[in-house]
């Protein structure tokens, strides 16, 4: 892995963000809207519920962490799509740039933009709605690692799907987080789900995070094994997504799709 080509991918994202407020705005705007919307919903539920659940911590905290995972995926996919939109594949892939360097650059760009989102999220949710992620203690770091890892895996997978099925398949990838959220048990405990959905949930690292988060906030003992499983799954899924991206890239080189990408198919 060479530093300069990875830095090039990062620098390109910086140039684009710096030159276009329209690109920078979603990093702040959607996060802000989510915080406000779910903050008030949580506050309302706190006022009417006698269940003794701290909705601000459990619901708002979960929504925001899930939102962060989605932002990581979207940040990576958007960085990839910049090359689709500017028809830059030929210039990129006919250069010495290695696929590992390209994907690493996209991942770092995504992490950088999502950290901005995380900062805005905390700056708004903590003082306005009294959300305290500190209640999660050191576990928060583990939870964030899992969510970042899963977001990266989804982002690589989504980019591979766009590379495989052409620019028009972009619409397919945006709803992926929404499709997965029922399985990830963001809003409710896993036990609510039917058995088949629980089976899917066990393959998704965020479900362990949200279960763990609820356990910690409700004062139950923290189980290390589920988080370890989640970390392992996230690492495995990043590796699988990377393998799929390389496979799709090689197919595109073999069929000629990469050289004529705007045509969407070579048939």
């Amino acid at each position: 892995m060479r530093l300069a080509p990875v830095a090039a991918i990062l620098l390109r994202q910086w140039y684009l963000l710096r030159g276009s407020p329209v690109r920078a705005l979603p990093m702040f705007a959607w996060v802000g809207i989510d915080v406000v919307l779910w903050g008030f919903i949580s506050r309302f539920l706190d006022s009417v519920s006698g269940a003794g659940i701290n909705f601000t911590a459990v619901l708002l905290g979960a929504v925001l962490l899930w939102d962060l995972c989605g932002r990581v995926m979207q940040g990576l996919t958007t960085a990839f799509l910049e090359d689709v939109w500017s028809r830059n594949f030929l210039n990129l892939f006919a250069s010495p740039l290695r696929i590992s360097e390209y994907v690493t650059g996209l991942v770092l760009a995504s992490i950088a933009t999502s950290v901005v989102g995380l900062t805005v999220m905390l700056a708004l949710a903590v003082p306005v709605f009294g959300l305290s992620f500190l209640a999660l203690g050191a576990h928060l770091l583990l939870f964030l690692t899992v969510l970042y890892g899963f977001g990266v895996a989804l982002g690589i997978l989504a980019s591979a799907l766009v590379l495989r099925f052409g620019p028009a398949s972009e619409w397919l990838v945006w709803p992926i987080p929404a499709l997965l959220s029922p399985f990830c048990a963001v809003f409710y405990p896993l036990t609510i789900l039917p058995a088949w959905m629980r089976g899917v949930a066990y393959l998704l690292p965020p479900s362990y995070v949200f279960e763990g988060m609820r356990a910690v906030l409700q004062g139950r003992p923290f189980a290390a094994l589920p988080v370890l499983i989640a970390l392992t799954l996230a690492a495995l899924e990043i590796a699988l997504a990377g393998w799929y991206f390389v496979r799709v890239y090689r197919r595109a080189v073999r069929t000629g799709l990469l050289a004529r990408y705007s045509a969407e198919t070579v048939s």
């Binding site: 080509p5 090039a8 390109r12 140039y15 830059n88 594949f89 250069s95 010495p96 740039l97 990469l258």
Partner: protein, 263 residues
């Protein structure tokens, strides 16, 4: 016609900049390139000619490793493109009308981006040299998307020279340029070849340009090599008045006996 370089590729004792052997590529039932072999010597400009659909772009794409051939080998210098892709492409660069640079980056941003990808040493200095060479200084902070096609071509050429390539692939590099700019570009490339000894593979449909700039040409039709030789003597050898007439003759002929044309 501008003065041609004194250097002749045959004088060079250095290894071939590009060596293509038995290249074959089909898209489903369509055979785009059928057993093509050729070399570009260091310091040589080889013109790759042929009608639309002859296989020129397919050959360029396979050399650039964005298209995998069905069979055959491609070596850039002593590096096998299929096995040492990144190293081989670090010595190569290209400019093509169908591969414009991202329009949402400025000229300098594009050159910086690609300079990092090609790991160009002393990048800022190199960019300044190229901005001067291609008269792009006034456009340095202009987004490429608002440049004229001629200006875009100059930026693409500047990008193609960033890494001082040993092999340069130019797919119709002067297609969008006015005659004066085209002449300047040809002169720049010839000077570059003279000074750096890099090999150039040049495609063009402008036969005047080909005659002026290429040391040797290779005619392709239906993915096969029909004729190769000196663009200044080939027309006479084949009973044509000039290169354009020879091009039209070859492009219209059926492919039944390509071997008969081989010099």
């Amino acid at each position: 016609m501008t003065a041609r370089s004194e250097h002749h590729p045959a004088d060079s004792a250095t290894a071939a900049a590009l060596r293509v052997r038995g290249l074959r590529k089909s898209y489903g039932e369509v055979l785009a390139v059928n057993g093509v072999s050729f070399e570009v010597a260091a310091g040589e400009i080889l013109g790759l000619l042929g009608p639309n659909g002859a296989g020129k772009t397919t050959i360029i794409n396979t050399i650039l490793a964005v298209l995998r051939p069905d069979s055959g080998s491609i070596r850039i210098g002593d590096l096998d493109v299929s096995r040492q892709r990144s190293l081989a492409l670090a010595r190569t660069n290209f400019a093509a009308v169908y591969a414009s640079l991202p329009g949402n980056l400025t000229v300098v941003q594009n050159l910086t981006f690609f300079g990092l990808i090609y790991r160009v040493r002393f990048l800022r200095r190199r960019i300044e040299e190229l901005l001067r060479q291609f008269q792009l200084e006034a456009l340095r902070n202009t987004k490429c998307g608002v440049l004229s096609s001629g200006e875009l071509t100059r930026v693409a050429l500047a990008k193609s020279l960033l890494n001082r390539p040993r092999l340069l692939l130019l797919d119709e590099p002067t297609a969008s340029l006015d005659p004066a700019a085209a002449r300047d570009t040809r002169s720049t490339i010839r000077t570059l070849v003279h000074d750096t000894h890099c090999g150039v593979l040049w495609t063009s449909h402008n036969m005047y340009e080909v005659e002026e700039v290429c040391d040797r040409v290779l005619f392709l039709s239906h993915g096969q090599v029909l004729v190769t030789g000196d663009p200044r003597s080939l027309p006479r050898e084949h009973g044509a008045r000039n290169l354009e007439e020879l091009f039209i003759q070859l492009a219209r002929e059926p492919l039944a006996h390509p071997a008969e044309h081989l010099a």
